[in-house]
């Protein structure tokens, strides 16, 4: 056996002829070497190729490299120290499901294709000016939110939302976004419909979005959440959940807690604004960041 597969044979398309030894003959540790260069999803796909691939696809060595450095920390947040002694592949699968933090106000999970650590911070975890006043804000149950509820602004002049999250993130670049929707939904005659009658004020001045980290990084962006039209404000974003990308930050030291503060404000009190649904803030590895869809809403740094 050994490295003797490529003796001269007749066949000019790079394929071994039928019956000739092939990838099946290479030892499991070599397959594990190949798997180190494949994504977790590819490894799962290839597990059923043959016995040797099945073995390599379960190898702790392979999966240990796919787990982030903070995986023990993530496991410790699971109830009943579930998973401490599982094979690494099963730990990976476990951590791909959202793990609740801080009394259910935050979640952390691994992106299954890349193993990147993702965070979501619910509106409940944020300091929202006027949240306790029912004239201004309401909490509404929402199936489209991973936290099953959103904060809905009816009308306000001083619009300010602040939040902070601390987590031991692996080294890398991350993007932070606010998940917002203009309008809300309501039940009319047994059907769920979009309601925009309270949406106003977002086309007049931009909302300022900010983030800052404990090691001095910061980013700011302004977005018009709605756009002025001939007959009043119209916006493509109405009714759609949109991720407003605030900016990126870099984690260099993965042995420390990273603290990120974020906010969105529109405190120009010459005009009121309302009709806005706030779901959450998300922090994901920047290569997973989707472009902010609301391209028609003006944006400036």
């Amino acid at each position: 056996m050994g490295a003797n597969l490529s003796r001269v044979y007749e066949g000019d398309d790079g394929r071994p002829p039928a019956g000739y030894p092939g990838l099946a003959d290479i030892p499991e540790n070599c397959i594990a070497g190949i798997f180190r260069h494949l994504s977790p999803l590819d490894i799962c796909k290839l597990a059923r190729l043959n016995r040797a691939f099945k073995g390599a696809a379960s190898s702790d060595l392979v999966w240990a490299e796919k787990l982030p450095v903070c995986y023990q920390d993530m496991l410790s947040k699971l109830p009943l120290s579930k998973g401490q002694f599982l094979p690494k592949k099963e730990i990976y699968a476990l951590l791909c499901k959202p793990i609740s933090l801080d009394n259910g106000t935050k979640e952390v999970w691994l992106d299954k294709a890349t193993g990147g650590v993702c965070l979501a911070i619910s509106a409940r975890a944020m300091a929202i000016t006027g949240i306790d006043d029912h004239r201004y804000w309401r909490w509404i149950p929402c199936e489209e939110s991973r936290f099953h509820e959103i904060a809905y602004l009816q009308q306000l002049w001083w619009f300010e939302v602040d939040g902070v999250v601390k987590f031991q993130l692996p080294a890398g670049e991350y993007s932070l976004s606010f998940r917002l929707r203009l309008g809300t939904s309501a039940r009319r005659l047994g059907r769920r419909v979009q309601v925009f009658n309270q949406v106003h004020g977002w086309d007049l001045k931009p909302v300022q979005f900010c983030l800052s980290t404990s090691d001095g990084q910061h980013a700011t962006r302004g977005y018009y959440l709605d756009q002025a039209g001939e007959d009043g404000p119209v916006g493509d974003a109405r009714g759609k959940w949109t991720d407003y990308h605030v900016g990126n930050f870099v984690v260099e030291n993965e042995n420390k807690l990273t603290e990120v503060k974020f906010s969105m404000t529109q405190i120009d009190c010459t005009h009121s604004k309302g009709g806005l649904s706030l779901d959450s803030v998300s922090i994901v590895p920047s290569k997973l960041q989707k472009e902010t869809e609301n391209k028609h809403a003006g944006c400036y740094s």
């Binding site: 490529s6 044979y9 000739y20 999803l41 190729l49 299954k112 489209e144 939110s145």
Partner: protein, 159 residues
């Protein structure tokens, strides 16, 4: 102190190759062996590597010994890509196994990455055909693997 001696290597099909010491010790295995025996006149037998593959391994090692101080990383990468680009599947796999056997870390990485690139966007059925893999799993075992890995292919539920 750089040793100036030559090292003789014998392939599985009994061909002798002579290489510089610096080239030979790119292989961890040969580095360890030569560390014990020193330079000798007798050829070190490499039972697992054919002459065709050994020639390629030596090409790779010779380039990399010379490249380490004189050529930019970018150019080395380009050379590596050319080196593997037109290899047929069987040769590529033989090289991968030879690199593993001889402990040539960067050649291992290069060949593993190349195989990974060639299989990553293909369906298992196509990979079986291209690489001539016989499926030695029973239908029950295949089904069990499918269930075990279902989590990887489930649709994301949460937004």
């Amino acid at each position: 102190m750089v040793k100036e001696c030559k090292v003789k290597l014998k392939s599985s099909d009994d061909k002798i190759f002579e290489v510089d010491y610096a080239v030979a010790i790119q292989s961890q295995i040969l580095n360890n062996t030569l560390g014990h025996t020193g330079c000798t006149d007798s050829a070190l037998p490499l039972h697992n590597v054919s002459s065709q593959i050994l020639a390629k391994v030596i090409d790779y090692c010779e380039y990399h010994v010379n490249a380490s101080s004189t050529i930019s990383e970018k150019d080395v990468k380009m050379w590596d890509q050319e080196f593997v680009k037109h290899l047929d599947q069987a040769t590529l796999l033989d090289l991968l196994m030879a690199a593993q056997y001889l402990g040539i870390h960067n050649l291992q990485e290069l060949t593993c990455q190349t195989v990974a690139d060639r299989i990553k966007d293909k369906r298992p059925e196509d990979i079986r055909e291209i690489f001539n893999i016989q499926n030695d799993l029973t239908p029950e075992e295949e089904e069990e693997i499918r269930c075990e890995n279902e989590w990887a292919f489930e649709e994301e539920v949460s937004p």
